[in-house]
């Protein structure tokens, strides 16, 4: 029997060590959750994507539910960089958990500028939400293609010394090429992945159920897609992968770790149960104890018998 005193939940994301591998997904977390549980139990804090200026976001209704998940078209309502620096950063700096700031923009220059300006003391890492439409590429998200990914990550890399995470989209047909492009351009980690584009219609009114017509699917329905991409990216790249998509149970967390993720982000599950992240951390520790596993390294990437076939 191993010494279970030494159970170590810490997760290494490049140079960064998180005290555990559980953190929120951008856009599903805010200071409001601090009323519900002690947010310092989390491995990191990841904020809703901010953009440079102030923006309103999309028309309502902004969410609808689907089988085993939801679709959102919140957009990125943003109070801008000044509000972030003056109001949000001081609040989040009070916590011990590392702060990850998600940023986005519609053009290379704006993105680069925002990246430079958010590289402030108190910020631990920057997550680049490159799933946002790029106006210089016909409105296609940067992360849809390897070339635009390479270009934007290269630009961001020159603007900051902070760890830079690139958040990929599952809507691309070339996830592995995009992941490699982000790695080559100097990303320190990959967040895999953002929401999947979907739609829902109200049959009685014959109207789309979202004000924006289409929106991003999240929740358990997309888990197999995010898990597959996590597996593909972890095999193809040397930088750490942070899994994200539909994670709501300990079993889900373990699937992503076994597939090769170093850590995971939890989004929609928090809407069903606000305390889920705190529970997952405790459950993960409980599971490691039962299994006599003292370090996550014994789990991460431990998938067996996966000589990948060709899918047809």
């Amino acid at each position: 029997m191993k010494d279970l005193q030494t159970i170590d939940l810490s997760a290494r994301i490049g140079a960064l060590t998180l005290k555990n591998p559980i953190m929120p997904a951008s856009g599903t977390f805010s200071e409001d959750l601090a009323d519900v549980f002690d947010l310092d139990v989390l491995g990191a804090h990841v904020l809703k994507t901010i953009m440079h200026g102030t923006r309103a976001g999309n028309p309502t209704p902004r969410v609808c539910d689907i089988q085993s998940g939801m679709i959102n078209a919140i957009g990125i309502p943003s109070k801008g960089i000044d509000y972030f620096r003056d109001e949000m950063l001081p609040y989040w700096s009070e916590f011990k958990a590392p702060l990850v700031v998600s940023i986005s923009a519609h053009s290379y220059d704006e993105f680069a500028r925002l990246c430079r300006e958010v590289s402030l003391p108190g910020v631990t890492a920057i997550e680049a939400n490159i799933s946002c439409p790029n106006i210089e590429a016909d409105g296609n998200a940067f992360a849809m293609r390897p070339d635009t990914t390479q270009e934007i990550v290269t630009r961001l890399r020159t603007e900051t010394d902070l760890p830079l995470w690139a958040k990929l989209t599952p809507n691309t047909g070339e996830p592995v090429e995009v992941a490699r492009a982000a790695e080559e351009a100097g990303a320190d980690a990959l967040v895999v992945a953002n929401t999947m584009l979907g739609m829902s219609i109200d049959v009685d009114s014959r109207r789309p159920r979202l004000g924006n017509v289409m929106g991003g699917m999240s929740g358990p329905a997309i888990k197999p897609i995010a898990l597959r991409m996590t597996y593909q990216c972890a095999r193809a790249c040397d930088i750490p992968v942070i899994g994200c998509g539909g994670i709501s149970t300990l079993n889900d967390v373990l699937e992503f770790l076994i597939a090769g993720a170093q850590a995971v982000q939890v989004g929609t599950a928090t809407f069903q149960s606000p305390t889920v992240m705190a529970r997952l951390i405790a459950e993960l520790e409980g599971w490691m104890t039962t299994q006599e596993i003292t370090s996550l390294e014994e789990v991460i990437g431990s998938i067996e018998g996966s000589e990948a076939g060709v899918f047809e």
């Binding site: 969410v63 919140i74 079993n251």
Partner: protein, 280 residues
């Protein structure tokens, strides 16, 4: 499958008790009221019963046959009693979620999250209160009646309905000492044109310090108008599609007119209760 501990206690911020929490409640009863509505009475833990009228819960609705309501559904508190451990919701069947609620039988358990949002306020200078609402909106305003009685305020409740027998909560309002006026569509007494002189007569008598309303945008516009002309403040409980119910996702925003600016607020967090004058 994997080992999953059944209960894990979650660390709560130092010195702060959770403002809202998840709780598993036992169904005491779930019975039809007035044809269109159902009253769900729960046996609820004390921890979630520090409620204010106007607040709401997010209900994790059970799945009815062939459907799967994924998101929680917001529901106003219809009644609560901390000492008796009782929590009540009055709901109308609209879709999958409320169809799921309707399947609950006594002794079933299900999960609620709350109390959420900001309730109604009742400043000291609001002594004579007038409540005007319609349909399920009356559910949201119901707990105001008790609050008014407890604070010794005078309450007039105008209950609007399609037919007189469909007017909700009349007995409940009366039991808390409110004067109840039922207006309805059949005799035309519920139109803004018919209501307006009725209310203005009360205002003229000095009987109205504040309005409370909920639901109907026609009623809202009338009360905004009356409020502006006569300098009477008031509060409205509003609705919007929600995901988190806590303020995190920004799904539930609505526009408000504040001075000459239009701003967006989250119904779940800054609301669901807002000044009548700012609602749009």
């Amino acid at each position: 499958m994997t080992y999953i501990p059944t209960t894990v206690s979650v660390p709560v911020p130092q010195g702060l008790r959770p403002r809202c929490s998840e709780a598993t409640c036992r169904v005491v009863s779930n019975t039809p009221v007035n044809g269109e509505y159902r009253l769900l009475t729960l046996d609820a833990p004390e921890a979630i019963l520090d409620c204010q009228p106007g607040q709401f819960f997010q209900l994790l609705c059970p799945a009815p046959e062939g459907e799967n309501p994924f998101l929680r559904r917001p529901m106003s508190i219809y009644g609560y009693d901390k000492s008796a451990g009782r929590l009540e919701f009055l709901y109308k069947i609209a879709g999958a979620g409320t169809r799921g609620l309707a399947t609950l039988r006594p002794d079933d358990t299900f999960n609620v999250l709350g109390p959420l949002g900001q309730g109604f306020s009742m400043p000291d200078d609001w002594q004579n209160l007038m409540l005007v609402a319609r349909g399920v909106g009356l559910a949201t305003l119901a707990p105001l009646a008790r609050m008014a009685q407890e604070r010794g305020r005078k309450l007039t409740a105008i209950c609007s309905a399609r037919r007189p027998e469909l007017a909700m909560s009349v007995e409940l309002f009366e039991s808390y000492g409110a004067e109840v006026i039922v207006v309805h569509d059949e005799d035309g007494s519920s139109t803004p044109e018919a209501l307006r002189p009725l209310i203005e007569a009360r205002i003229a008598k000095g009987d109205v310090d504040a309005f409370y309303t909920c639901g109907s945008s026609r009623l809202l516009r009338m009360l905004q108008d009356l409020g502006e002309s006569h300098g009477i403040p008031g509060e409205i409980a509003m609705e919007q599609q929600m995901a988190c119910g806590l303020g995190m996702c920004q799904a539930c925003v609505r526009s408000f007119r504040v001075g000459d600016r239009i701003i967006q607020r989250r119904v779940c967090r800054e609301g669901p209760v807002f000044p009548i004058s700012e609602a749009m």
